[in-house]
Amino acid sequence: MDTFLSAIFSGTSRGAIFALVALGLVLVWRGAGIVNFAQMGQAMFTTYIASTLIANGNSYWIGFVVALVSGAALGSILDVLVMRPLSNKKKTELLSSDSMRAAIPVIASLGILGVLQALAGIIWAAEERGFPAPAKQEGFTVAGNVMPFTAFDVFVITCVAITLILTSLFFKRTGMGLAMRATALNQEVAKLSGIRTNRTRTLSWAISGAASSLAGLLLTPSSNLSPNTLDLALFIGFTAAVVGGLDSPVGAVLGGFILGMVISFVTFYDTPEDVFLAILAVLLLSLIIRPHGILGSKDVRRV
């Protein structure tokens, strides 16, 4: 029973973070038609920035805010410098086919991931360092029993909930949000309505960058920080996004929690080493049973 509760709690807290990662992927996929494999590389980089600030005596919160802002900035810079020139490229012989046009941004994002990881290695040394949590990571004590739920878990879930509420309000209530949804759904009609689609694309990169930076900040206290620490989060986030539906933000959140639970239960009831295989199994199952995801729209091939 204790194991079960622990698994549930840890699954919720982890799932919330994976939901954030998946949401970041979905935002860029909807907004720009690209699965950004560099996303957690960006998050790793901004977490290092926060870590450096905190190590130099600044408060956690300054690091926190700077990480989010630099995450947004990094996302937009990458879009403007790399992805926008790619999408505006004229059709050459190589780019004549849809499949290659879809592959090129993926390759570019892998290149970005490589650059960010190498840069982080050069700047911040290869040795692992820890990252502080703003709240205690020991379980609450209720009637003398230590519960498998920590103050940090509360912090994580609050952060994620606030992010989800804010993004959904932004998309539902603001003009910019409407412009972004329109661009994601039908670029041509959006352009004809006077929406500057280049800008909305960049904005989706920025929001996604900030969201994944937050995910990075929340993930690293439980592991160490190194150039590769967040790779696994990308795999899990991708799987979560596919499970929920790559073009559905709500689906992404749902997928994040599903993955959080799966991983948590595998860790508690089996061994942590099987987590990778479990992720693969979930991904393949989901692709066989529901290729467009739980809440995704049917057109899987949207590019």
Partner: protein, 237 residues
């Protein structure tokens, strides 16, 4: 006034527009008719910046709009309603209309609401269905929605691509009538592309007949309507 001169648009090796010249007079309805594949839609898409011409000149009120992006061309007062009731089905009616006025929110804040109200006034059925998703509308309502979306950007030139496509004659008549009234009362310039030549020539001031990417006739609408030989040769009736 819109002036198109010697416009050539290609898709790979296929030449869709082969040296088209025409003009749309201010506050008049100019219609472009022709059979399927004549290049009518390509013409509108090239004017609104969705396709890039290989050569030619397009000027709008004396200024060249070639190589401008669609979103900038809208800002210059040219609104394009593309073929096939182009609305975003996943958004509500309200959102679809509001989309067209997003770029005016900052500069013309007070006018945005007026424009939205006018659109609902023109097509009251949209007001009833404000909260519905555009995907649940009938074909005619979608066309009205697409036109409304274009109108709230306060265009001086409306590019209308086959509004009659797939609609019942009564609905077509209602939509064409609304556009006609709009042109006569507000001085809107309209460039109407139609396969349904009779309807189009019935409301238009001027007619241009397009065939295989070339202009074969450019005359007052009434004259074009009366030319049975030309109609038989190019439109098949």
């Amino acid at each position: 006034m819109l002036k198109v001169e010697n416009l050539v648009t290609k898709f790979g090796s296929v030449i869709a527009l082969d040296g088209v010249s025409l003009s749309a007079q201010a506050s008049k309805i100019t219609t472009v008719i022709g059979a399927n594949g004549a290049g009518k839609s390509t013409l509108l898409r090239t004017i609104s910046g969705l396709e890039h011409p290989a050569q030619g000149i397009i000027t709008w009120q004396g200024e060249s709009i070639i190589a401008k992006r669609p979103e900038d061309i809208v800002r210059m007062g040219i609104a394009h309603v593309p073929e096939g009731h182009a609305v975003i089905s996943e958004l509500s009616v309200e959102e679809n209309i509001a989309m067209g006025s997003l770029f005016r929110r900052r500069k013309f804040k007070s006018d945005v609401q007026v424009a939205l109200d006018e659109a609902y006034q023109l097509f009251p059925r949209l007001l009833e269905r404000r909260k519905q998703l555009a995907g649940t509308l009938s074909g005619g309502e979608r066309q009205m929605l697409a036109i409304s979306r274009a109108l709230v950007s306060r265009p001086q030139l409306l590019l209308l691509d086959e509004p009659s496509l797939g609609l019942a004659p009564l609905v077509v008549e209602q939509i064409i009538d609304s556009v006609n009234i709009l042109c006569r009362t507000t001085g809107l310039t309209v460039l109407l592309v139609e396969q349904n030549a009779n309807t189009a020539l019935g409301v238009a001031d001027h007619g241009v007949l397009l065939s295989l990417g070339k202009v074969v006739a450019d005359r007052p609408a009434a004259e074009l309507k009366a030319d049975a030989a030309l109609r038989a040769a190019y439109l098949g009736y």
